[in-house]
């Protein structure tokens, strides 16, 4: 596994082919490859879980669950459907939202709704070096997200980080359903254009 651990270690999403090599190694039972993926994506997975759940202990559990799932399901990873980075982010989001939903109540729930309190996606937690070398898609999406008006970005965040549907967002925010649909569509359209 020396080849896999040769420096420099690629950052999240930076080297999709190297990610795929690692996933295939995981599928063959390589614990070292799991470690490599953890070193590359641990902060991404933890950061996303923390963002969704707001509690470090729960976020840590999600990280363990995600890498356990990667271990079990590496053989089912479909490179034609998404990058390894995208897959892991999807797994993380799903796990975290499941835990979020499983909780009876969430004290800081309203904070997430308050758009003025919404944490910017490119937050101070992001280390400067990381922000310069994430995948191109991510860079473009971040740029487009940053340009979105809060009222649009907040809807994407409610959908993405809390897994809310149109009608749930409408119920949560009091924004009419039709408006929610239109804003979400337009917001995603803006991000989509950034990738085009």
């Amino acid at each position: 596994m020396d080849a896999l651990s040769d420096p420099p270690v690629p950052r999240p999403g930076e080297d999709p082919e190297r990610d795929r090599v690692a996933i295939r190694a995981v599928a063959r039972g390589s614990g070292d490859a799991v470690a490599e993926l953890y070193d590359r994506y641990g902060a991404t997975v933890y950061g996303l879980a923390l963002r969704v759940l707001g509690q470090p202990d729960l976020a840590e559990e999600v990280v363990q669950d995600v890498f356990a799932q990667v271990w079990r399901e590496a053989g089912r990873y479909d490179a034609s459907r998404s990058t390894v980075a995208g897959w892991m982010v999807m797994l993380t989001r799903t796990r975290a939202i499941d835990r979020l939903r499983a909780r009876q109540a969430r004290p800081d729930l309203t904070a997430a709704v308050d758009t003025s309190a919404a944490v910017p996606l490119a937050s101070a937690d992001r280390t400067p070096e990381t922000t310069t070398i994430v995948a191109e898609d991510t860079r473009l999406v971040r740029g487009a997200l940053a340009q979105l008006p809060d009222q649009f970005r907040s809807l994407i965040e409610l959908a993405y980080y809390e897994g809310l549907t149109h009608s749930e967002i409408a119920a949560r925010t009091g924004i009419p359903l039709g408006t929610v649909k239109t804003r979400l569509r337009n917001a995603m359209g803006s991000l989509r254009s950034a990738l085009a």
Partner: protein, 275 residues
């Protein structure tokens, strides 16, 4: 929903923000629409990008060891209590698996749609075949009719030939009278072979009227067949002659109701004498 309406919901689908009913409908559409499938793939890249952009946070150093220990547990088949927790409903249907479920649903819908399309195509095929059979049947019926006509004609021709070849054949020309100046006719009479009559220049008759040929002997007129002229005003008729019939004095044609009459209705429109 129209293609445009469904396409407008793709962003929400990619985010997992569609409510169930819409999700199923959009997913079903995507499975059959290349344009929307491509758009959804692009949107999923956006969604992946959002997640990757989500504020990486350096985890506590101890977490790495926990993760790797967990993997060793998994390898040893000692799944932790956490991983053996009952799977919450939503976990069983995570975002992309939801989409996958949507795909499965879409596939089953596509299958159902495909099956009904297939059934529809079969029904259409059957309908067409029925029409073909019906048309073929009509054609066969028409051909049978033509064959019958040809056979009748052949019989008529044979009869006519017999009459013309008969040694006792008598030929009589008929002339149109004042009421039918254009008409001309010719009768061939043989006691042994029968009677053949041809005519030309016959005007078409009103509905329900026919021409009727008569053999006349003395004061007695005997019906020898009815006929209707063709579009060209020509007609022919054959008739059997009684073996005991006397040679007629004349032949005449009258206009009678369909089916003919027992005695001629005046006036006689064509007439010709044997002497």
């Amino acid at each position: 929903m129209t293609h445009e309406q469904l396409r407008d919901l793709l962003p929400a689908l990619s985010l997992g923000a569609l409510d169930a009913d819409e999700r199923h409908e959009v997913a079903a559409h995507v499975s059959t629409c290349a344009e929307c499938a491509a758009e959804l793939a692009a949107l999923e890249r956006v969604v992946d990008g959002i997640g990757l952009d989500a504020s990486p946070v350096t985890p506590p150093p101890a977490l790495r060891g926990k993760v790797l220990a967990r993997i060793e547990d998994e390898r040893a088949g000692k799944a932790t209590a956490m991983s053996r927790m009952p799977v919450p409903a939503r976990m069983a249907q995570p975002v992309r698996p939801l989409w996958a479920n949507g795909l499965a649903l879409a596939a089953s819908i596509a299958l159902a749609v495909g099956a009904s399309l297939y059934a529809w195509a079969l029904r259409s095929e059957i309908s067409i075949l029925r029409q073909d059979v019906s048309a073929t049947s009509d054609e066969a019926s028409k051909l049978r009719g033509e064959l019958a006509t040809l056979r009748r004609n052949w019989v008529e021709v044979t009869k006519a030939m017999d009459v013309l070849r008969a040694p006792d054949m008598l030929k009589v020309d008929l002339k149109g009278q004042a009421t039918l100046p254009s008409g001309t006719g010719r009768a061939f009479w043989s006691r042994s072979a029968g009677l053949m009559f041809t005519a030309e220049g016959l005007p078409a008759l009103p509905q329900g009227k026919v021409y009727q040929l008569w053999t006349i002997k003395g004061a007695v007129a005997t019906g020898a067949g009815t006929f209707v002229p063709d579009a060209g005003g020509a007609a022919s008729v054959t008739a059997v002659v009684s073996a005991t019939a006397e040679v007629p004095d004349a032949f005449g044609v009258t206009i009678e109701p369909s089916g003919g009459s027992a005695t001629p209705t005046m006036p006689i429109v064509m007439v010709g004498g044997t002497k």
